[in-house]
């Protein structure tokens, strides 16, 4: 895997046994820290791209805020959080401690998926290595602080913050209706802030360099850097860090990734299987939240999956449909039944038993789920399938209908 230069810079800036950024944050006090966070323009890296400072402000004056770091990375194509946990656990730990200090939060969880055993081990080792400093933190900075590392049980939907909260409460981990948002009423009814691993790993850097310097990178609405997970039919897959808005998707695939090794590029998924695909004529697009949104898709988790012409669009659609059908939590009808129907209709087409009208039906069902489903899983489940139908209709109609 290619070395991650910027991340390395992160880690070197705060070597184990130092906690310089945390000490600086404590010196600043929580209000000045929030000010820096606001200036930085940091938005959540888990997929939604919501302003971190705005989210925190909802709970800023509440006592007993619960902080949850979401490391339940399950989006197909995404492996950035695993990389941070395995190679930069200290960075995340410092980010967590800074965030807990800022939010006055003594109840903190790090929820890591069960599949990430090496990541769990690396983080536990980091905790052991820094025990003295954590004791100092508990005694001097955040009395009563407790950090609990929780290992998931294997459920993609726990990446949704409300499902994750149900999972921590020992309930069946299905999603909750929002509002109330977790920042208002989350774990056991307490105000709860849920942030992604990559998001919180930016905190030490913002404190170290100041919000202004952080916001000098990137473009409006997408400040700072973003980890990109490159996979699929590409010469040099791996993790890359980019400055948002300053590099195109085409450059990521060809300049960083070396292009497709065995054929012509057919389509690209820019942010994991929850996002709409782009055809080769749509790749000259800056990689940032706003530009991709304008193009009808999303930066998502930054999981760029490249498919060459050997990949049949119908096969890819079936793969995504099967995924969402098995991973829906089953609590809200549009997602539970919608995904079952999309999968069923696509399989009929694949077996040569389909009709062209099915394509319109699939798009209607997906649209219904996107409007009516409770959580991000249901709202985004049809993006990939419908965009494949739009852009590669012949793969669906072709010999099969």
């Amino acid at each position: 895997m290619p070395e991650h230069k910027y991340l390395k810079k992160f880690i070197e800036a705060s070597p184990s046994g130092d906690f310089a950024n945390l000490r600086k944050a404590v010196e600043y006090g929580r209000d000045k820290c929030l000010n820096e966070l606001e200036i930085s323009g940091l938005v959540g890296r888990g997929g939604a791209g919501f302003s971190t400072a705005a989210k925190w402000k909802f709970a800023w004056n509440s006592p007993d805020v619960v902080l949850i770091c979401n490391g339940d990375e399950g989006e197909p194509g995404s492996f950035k959080d695993r990389y941070i946990l395995e190679n930069g656990a200290f960075l995340l730990l410092e980010g967590l401690l800074i965030s807990a200090f800022m939010l006055n939060s003594s109840e903190v969880y790090l929820y890591i998926r069960d599949e990430y055993k090496d990541a769990l081990e690396a983080f536990h080792k980091c905790l052991d290595d820094n025990l003295d400093l954590i004791v100092w933190y508990c005694e001097q900075v955040n009395p009563g602080f407790e950090l609990k590392v929780v290992c998931g049980g294997g459920a993609y939907v726990c990446g949704d913050e409300t499902s994750l909260i149900n999972s921590l409460e020992g309930k069946r981990p299905h999603s909750r209706i929002k509002p109330p948002y977790p920042a208002e009423k989350g774990l056991r009814g307490l105000p709860t802030i849920v942030n992604n691993v990559e998001t919180l790993s930016n905190l030490p850097l913002i404190i170290r360099d100041g919000g202004e310097k952080f916001s000098s990178m990137g473009v409006e609405g997408s400040r700072g850097s973003k980890l990109i997970c490159l996979s699929g039919n590409v010469e040099k897959p791996g993790l890359y860090e980019i400055e948002m808005g300053k590099i195109t998707l085409e450059e990521i695939i060809y300049t960083l990734g070396g292009g497709c090794p065995n054929g012509k590029l057919k389509f690209v998924i820019p942010g994991g299987t929850s996002t709409a695909v782009l055809a080769p004529d749509g790749l000259k697009i800056a990689v940032d939240y706003g530009s991709l949104r304008k193009a009808g898709t999303s930066l998502g988790t930054g999981a760029v999956i490249v498919a060459d012409e050997s990949v049949d669009a119908l096969d890819a659609a079936c793969n995504a449909a099967d995924f969402f059908m098995s991973e829906t939590c089953g609590i809200c009808f549009p997602c539970k039944e919608g995904n079952r129907q999309i999968d069923h209709l696509l399989n009929l087409i694949r077996q040569g038993k389909g009709q062209e009208s099915y394509l319109k039906l699939i798009q209607d069902v997906a649209l219904t789920a996107s409007c009516a489903a409770r959580c991000g899983l249901g709202q985004s489940c049809g993006n990939m399938v419908t965009s494949l139908i739009d852009k590669f209709r012949t793969d669906f109609v072709g010999a099969k209908l």
Partner: protein, 140 residues
């Protein structure tokens, strides 16, 4: 701050699955019914209600691995072990095809008891599994 997931993992680490007597005990501790806890356990994909094979093989079927011919790997492994999504008769192996394991840049991916094997092709996968077969026979 012990949460339910901790308790389930602890039991599964000890027994290899979640025996009914333990489910009853944990349900009582949690103050929920046995059936409610059953509903929670079966929601997750990584808890088992019965003993599974000594070596749990998981092959990723998600898109990035799929694009890199994970299906060929899976098919060969199925043929080799003569099982599809289940346990072998000798109790040595359990085979599962699973969703993304988070090593998408190194696919196709397989894990055996959580050890990662990457950049697989069918031959390499069979070679690895054969080494586990030998290990199993030695310890039998």
């Amino acid at each position: 701050m012990e949460v339910l997931l901790d308790k389930l993992h602890k039991v599964q680490d000890e027994f290899g699955f979640l025996p009914e007597s333990e489910i009853v005990r944990i349900a009582n501790e949690q103050g929920i019914t046995k059936s409610e806890l059953f509903g929670i356990i079966t929601f997750y994909s990584r808890f088992y209600l019965q003993p599974v094979g000594k070596f749990v093989i998981r092959i990723c079927k998600s898109l990035s691995c799929g694009i890199n011919s994970a299906a060929d790997v899976r098919q060969k492994v199925e043929e080799h072990l003569e099982i599809r999504n289940g346990s072998s008769k000798d109790g040595l192996f359990r085979l599962e095809t699973v969703e993304c394991l988070g090593h998408c840049g190194e696919g196709p991916i397989m894990t055996i008891n959580d050890k990662i094997y990457d950049k697989l092709n069918p031959e390499k996968a069979i070679e690895i599994i054969t080494s586990y077969q030998h290990k199993g026979e030695e310890n039998a």
